[in-house]
């Protein structure tokens, strides 16, 4: 085969440019740590990465939802705890008021205390969280309970997406905790106690004891429900955080360059490029007319 000048030059040029291209790619891979910087680097991996990234975004959104709603759920739980304590106190008052030796003015004093409790209970039932009134069901914009204890809310669940197969309800039901929808209207029970005390009706006071206990149990029951929700949120969060880690690992496994391989590739190509440059020099020096 005849070897001509142009062949020498173009072979030098071709080799250098193809090596430079590969070297630049290897350098980018070593620098960024990304094996799949463009979809064409590995189309299947790029498609997987797009899906993993969507799944990662979803997990992040769900975890942030959990963080947002957990505060309100905790607030609901502690509010229900307060309501339950309040009924424990009401029971004490009722026990005291049922004592036949008490005078009418003593009962009137106790009645004043019950009046206080009534006001407190309305305050508790109208607790406002970050997403509105906690116990109004879907009616979160307006106070669900009037000072007299009349309920204007509903028994709708506040559902969120935290990665379970079905939407998860995260609110405590004010209807079930405080109104007849849960069995007893707790405001009426307090009112009955108040009326009995203020009318000095010892037998009537004694008669409220059972209902007060039922009311307290009704509130505690709802408290337990929302406690379970909080546990569920925490469990979901730890599952999601685990999932996040796994997805991240899978993403790295698919799309990240192995640092050792990347670096050794780069070193190897740098060496080749050096060699190629010095070979190029000697090829270009090689010409008979220089010797003649």
């Amino acid at each position: 085969m005849r070897v001509t000048e142009n062949m020498r030059y173009s072979s030098v040029l071709n080799n250098l440019s193809s090596l430079s291209t590969r070297q630049a790619k290897a350098a980018a891979e070593a620098q960024t740590g990304l094996r799949v910087a463009n979809p064409s680097d590995d189309p299947i991996a790029a498609a997987d990465l797009a899906r993993l990234s969507a799944s990662q975004d979803q997990t992040t959104a769900r975890r942030s939802t959990i963080t947002t709603v957990r505060g309100d759920s905790e607030l609901a739980e502690s509010s229900l705890q307060q309501a339950s304590d309040l009924f424990a106190r009401a029971k004490e008052i009722a026990t005291q008021g049922a004592n036949g030796t008490l005078s009418a003015s003593d009962r009137a004093n106790l009645a004043t205390q019950v009046k206080d409790l009534q006001q407190q209970l309305v305050g508790i039932a109208n607790t406002k969280g970050s997403a509105g009134y906690l116990f109004g069901g879907s009616q979160t914009q307006n106070q669900p309970f009037t000072p007299a204890g009349a309920f204007s809310g509903d028994d709708e669940d506040h559902v969120v997406d935290i990665g379970n197969s079905t939407p998860t309800a995260v609110n405590a039901s004010g209807a079930k905790a405080f109104t007849s929808a849960g069995g007893r209207d707790v405001f009426t029970d307090l009112d009955t106690l108040y009326t009995a005390l203020s009318t000095n009706d010892a037998a009537g006071v004694s008669g409220t004891l059972t209902n007060l206990e039922t009311s307290r149990a009704q509130i505690t029951n709802e408290q337990a429900q929302v406690g379970a929700v909080i546990n569920k949120l925490d469990a979901s969060d730890s599952i999601l955080s685990n999932l996040q880690l796994q997805t991240q690992k899978r993403g790295s496994a698919i799309g990240a360059a192995d640092p050792a391989t990347a670096y050794s590739n780069l070193t190897q190509l740098n060496d080749s490029l050096d060699r190629s440059v010095s070979v190029a020099k000697s090829i270009l020096d090689l010409a008979a007319f220089k010797q003649l």
Partner: protein
Amino acid sequence: MASLSQLLNTARDALSAQSYGLNVTGDNISNASTPGYVRRVAELQTVNLGNQPAGSVTAAGLRRVTDDFTERRTYQANGSSSAAGSRDQTLASLESLFNDQSGTGLGNSLSAVYASFSALASNPTDATTRSNVLNAADTFATRVSSTASTIAQTRSDLKTQAQQTVDQVNQKAQDIAKLSLQIGIAESNGQDASALKDQRDQKLLDMSSLIDVHTFTDGQGQLVVQSAGTTLVEGGKASSLSLNVNSDGSLQLFANKAGGTSSEVTQFLTGGKLQGIFQSRDVDLFNVSKQLDQFVFDVGNAINQQHASGFGADGGTGRNLFDVSGSPDGAALNFKVSVDVWGHPDRVAAASSAFSVPGGSDNAVQISTMADRAVATNNTRTAAEAYGDLVGTVGSLKAGSARDVDTQGAIFKQVQTMQQSESGVSLDEEMVALTKYQNAYQAASKVLNVADQLMQELMTAIGR
């Protein structure tokens, strides 16, 4: 018996023949790096002087050292290589539209839409959360439509490029026909046409990077050039190609025949930049844009359907979140947030029933969990999966075209090496030729010198 004057003639012929050789060598050396230059060899012939013992030499002319087969292979390889190159360029810009790794893809903005509904579910009455839903939807819609419009713009640019390429092909065809004419005239006048042939071959090579080029010599010794299945140049006559846009928006190539008729030759186009443009514009970009349309159509409608079934904070229902066109055609380009909800955060439908307004969040959860439901590709893929498929398609196309560029480029380089090996100038060889002619010239001078001396001696002897 040879005369002294004959010896003088022989020496004269030798000097002129060797200097002809030196000239050819000089020509070769000076054109060593001229593109398209084919090395020449001086054809020296003995001149037979009948039964005389003294012969002579004459320069019969030049020979261009070229091989038709190699030349044809070069055109073909150049055509395939530049087709691959032009397609790869287009696909590289397409790929950059779907590069989620560098944050230019649609994936993140779609996830953000679902995430905004997840956030809305956790606090349906919050005005900021509602606005965020609209903003996320708008970002997604804008990304989608700008991706689609970039693809459309690229296709329109490619049409302009195709037109320019066709113009160039027509111009080259005319140049080649003109050169063929000149070559014919030069040769019929007994002149050397090597330089014209070099020029014509270079034009053919240039043309082969624009369109597929097939050449042969017909019965009358005329060069025939065929491209896209039609004869573009026949001897000194050139015909032309023209471009047309089909009703479906794809490009068509027509061959203009004598008499004003033309016939479509699109399907016979097999190489050159023009073929790369046709392939990337009307196959690759067309298909990707269709897949994007379908994806947007499916996902947009699924979200709309769920959204319309819910109730806004104002109690209204039946509103779409996005404007989606009636059919997948052009769905991506016209995709935007519906005017029914844009600017009215309270109309985002978080609740699933009128009585659960404003705190109800069921519908927001339904939309947010739609990310897990197969809503795309005939309800077989989730939105993220369908988008992943789209990224995979684009990546495969680009990876394939990059491989083509490598393969076809390597083949072209190989053929070019063959062509250079045959027709290129080797300076080493020319140096040897130079020395050879120089020595022969010196020797011929010596012959002249001897003849001259003999003549002198003869004169002196006679004169005494």
